[in-house]
């Protein structure tokens, strides 16, 4: 059984159909990428999985549970974490505090315990702090622990957001353009991390990405979207050479040319 399964999902904003009859399934342990031009509906798919949007028709099932019956804050409880395209960190908190918010779904203490810091509160804090430290180690965030987000450079924030998502101990990680705005070196790091997240932590990754280099390096499976519709699905190589994909990116005329020139490979 697939870990995440979307079936015939359609979403409309007013008269615009943002996602049209989309089906996809992500297997446990896969790195799955959504690609496509801007406005293709990739982030919208993420926002439906996060339950910020509700599709008009179709179903979204995670590990046998219907996501559409849940509220947005209940989704992370199942083990789904995400990052955002335009970094949504808690700006006036430190890196450490941001990561600790990631542990919120594992909160066991009651209000009274926290008010007087008695009972499980201290042990729980230690456990959270330890778990977060492991993520900090993994992503090399040691120098930034006590720094405010507001003063950090873009590249670091991107990593902090990834760290925060990892702190939730997810089973499925949604990465919305993890490499956008990163330098070549940072993108390289991101590539290793995604690889390790899958291999060492056993976390399934679903990502939206424009950088085809990154996609073909780390992904098992790619789905190309355009205008809210599925264009092609398969391995990175298959999708890149798919005529419909080339057409969507380069226009019709280019298809025959590139097809002739490269024998179907881009």
């Amino acid at each position: 059984m697939s870990l995440l399964e979307l079936k015939n999902v359609t979403l409309k904003f007013g008269g615009v159909t943002a996602v049209n009859e989309l089906s996809l399934s992500v297997e446990e342990g896969q790195v799955f990428a959504l690609v496509g031009p801007n406005g293709a509906g990739k982030s919208t798919v993420f926002n439906m999985i996060s339950r910020f949007y509700t599709p008009v028709t179709g179903s979204i099932v995670f590990d046998g549970r219907d996501l559409l019956t849940l509220k947005p804050h209940e989704v992370p409880q199942l083990g789904i974490a995400r990052t955002f395209q335009n970094i949504e960190l808690f700006d006036r908190a430190t890196v450490l505090q941001n990561l600790l918010v990631g542990r919120h779904r594992l909160r066991k203490t009651t209000l009274v315990e926290e008010m007087f810091f008695v009972g499980r509160a201290r042990a729980q804090e230690r456990a959270h702090r330890h778990a977060v430290e492991e993520v900090i180690d993994f992503l090399d965030l040691q120098p930034y622990r006590n720094q405010m987000i507001a003063g950090l450079p873009y590249g670091v924030r991107k990593v902090v957001e990834l760290a925060r998502a990892l702190s939730t101990r997810p089973r499925l990680l949604l990465l919305d353009e993890p490499a956008s705005g990163l330098s070549v070196e940072e993108t390289q790091d991101m590539r290793w991390w995604i690889d390790d997240i899958r291999r060492q932590m056993g976390i399934t990754v679903l990502m939206v990405e424009h950088d085809m280099g990154l996609v073909s390096n780390v992904c098992d499976r790619v789905l190309a979207l355009d205008g809210g519709r599925k264009l092609a699905e398969g391995t990175p190589a298959e999708v890149q050479s798919h005529p419909a994909v080339i057409e969507a990116y380069l226009g019709t005329a280019a298809v025959s040319k590139t097809a002739n020139a490269t024998g179907g490979r881009v």
Binding site: F84, R92, H104, R105, F117
Partner: protein, 360 residues
């Protein structure tokens, strides 16, 4: 400059980062404890007043500074706490029980009132709470059988385990009562900050959408924040009313809520210290002004002078030091610690542009 060489996670969790800081606060507490022997009754009364404002301010700080929700209606909850406490005492409940109960009840009622208001963002919440504060005045009059209406109510006799708390006969007793409440409230506040709930508050302040993506139930957490905030402010209101000796519908009018908000902004939004620093300003400003006007040799009493000057101070702070007194103090401290290596542009604010969430 002190460096923290951390060896255990507890160093990030405990209340004070090191022995030095702990020593400072212990010394401060010691001074506060022997204060009645150091200053006369009048100034002790003023310090009591500062602490009362600080308790109420901590309540609003939790909501506005921590959770990012502006309330212009906390005077209503001060009134609620005060009337509940006195009504309970008149019903024969001992003072301590009535006091704790009034805090809890105000908190619960506050959370219930907040539920529909939670859908409101920013300015809309401010306006709704302002309306609430104005309504409170009229509601107190409408509920005259319970509240005494315009005639008001008087502080009943207060005793703790047979020991009488009386402002006139024994100012120190009142001082200690308020000090204990203030320290307890500050401690609870601090405990919340190092717990998941406090971080969830900050998460909501900074980005509701990603708080949700981290599993924070925004509506529920906001209601809890509102409830806790109202509980603290209710305690502050109860202390204020009891300390004044008599109160009626006009004691807790909406200007009080606005003063409270201005106070925490001047003190420093989001800092426990800010509530205390702001309270010092608000409690001593009238004294400072009257001393000043005596200096000018005129017994001038300009109505609105206090609020006018307070407004000007606030404007100056928002423009020049949005982090308030505490923020300024932190900068001075860092400057001193780094001396002579501090650079001017260390504290320069990043230029920001407003981009709204409104599409139309």
């Amino acid at each position: 400059m002190r460096f923290h060489f951390k060896t255990t996670y507890d160093q990030d969790i405990r209340l004070f980062p090191d022995w030095w800081t702990f020593g400072l606060y212990a010394a401060l507490l010691a001074v506060m404890l022997i204060l009645p022997w150091l200053i006369d009754g009048f100034f002790l009364g003023e310090v009591t007043n500062v602490l009362i404002w600080a308790v109420a301010g901590l309540g609003l700080m939790l909501l506005t500074g921590q959770t990012g929700q502006v309330s212009l209606g906390h005077s209503a909850f001060m009134a609620l706490g005060c009337y509940l406490c006195v009504i309970l005492m008149e019903a024969g409940v001992p003072f301590v029980a009535a006091f704790v109960l009034c805090g809890i009840l105000t908190g619960v009622l506050g959370a219930i009132i907040a539920l529909p208001a939670l859908r409101l963002h920013g300015v809309y919440l401010a306006i709704a709470t302002l309306a609430l504060a104005i309504l409170a005045d009229d509601l107190i009059v409408i509920l005259t059988p319970w509240t005494g209406g315009v005639a008001g109510k008087f502080t009943p006799e207060m005793t703790i385990l047979g020991f009488e708390i009386n402002r006139w006969a024994n100012p120190a007793s009142w001082y200690y009562l308020v000090l204990i409440v203030a320290v307890l409230v500050a401690l609870i506040y601090r405990n919340l900050l190092r717990s998941p709930l406090g971080r969830a508050f900050a998460a909501i302040r900074d980005s509701e959408i990603s708080a949700q993506a981290m599993g924070v139930d925004v509506a529920h957490t906001k209601a809890v924040a509102f409830g806790l905030s109202c509980a603290f402010t209710g305690l502050g209101g109860a202390l204020m009313g009891l300390y004044a000796g008599a109160f009626n519908n006009e004691t807790f009018n909406f200007l009080l809520a606005i003063q409270l908000l201005m106070m925490i902004v001047i003190g420093g939004l989001g800092f426990i210290h800010g509530a205390f620093l702001g309270a010092i300003v608000i409690a001593f400003l009238p004294q400072a002004l009257s001393i000043l006007s005596d200096q000018f040799g005129r017994a001038m009493s300009i109505p609105g002078l206090e609020m006018g000057v307070f407004g000007m101070i606030l404007i100056a702070f928002i423009i020049l030091e949005p982090m308030g007194l505490y923020g300024r103090w932190m900068k001075i401290r860092i400057w001193l610690e780094l001396f002579p290596f501090a650079r001017r542009d260390m504290f320069r604010r990043q230029k920001s542009y407003l981009k709204t969430e409104r599409l139309r």
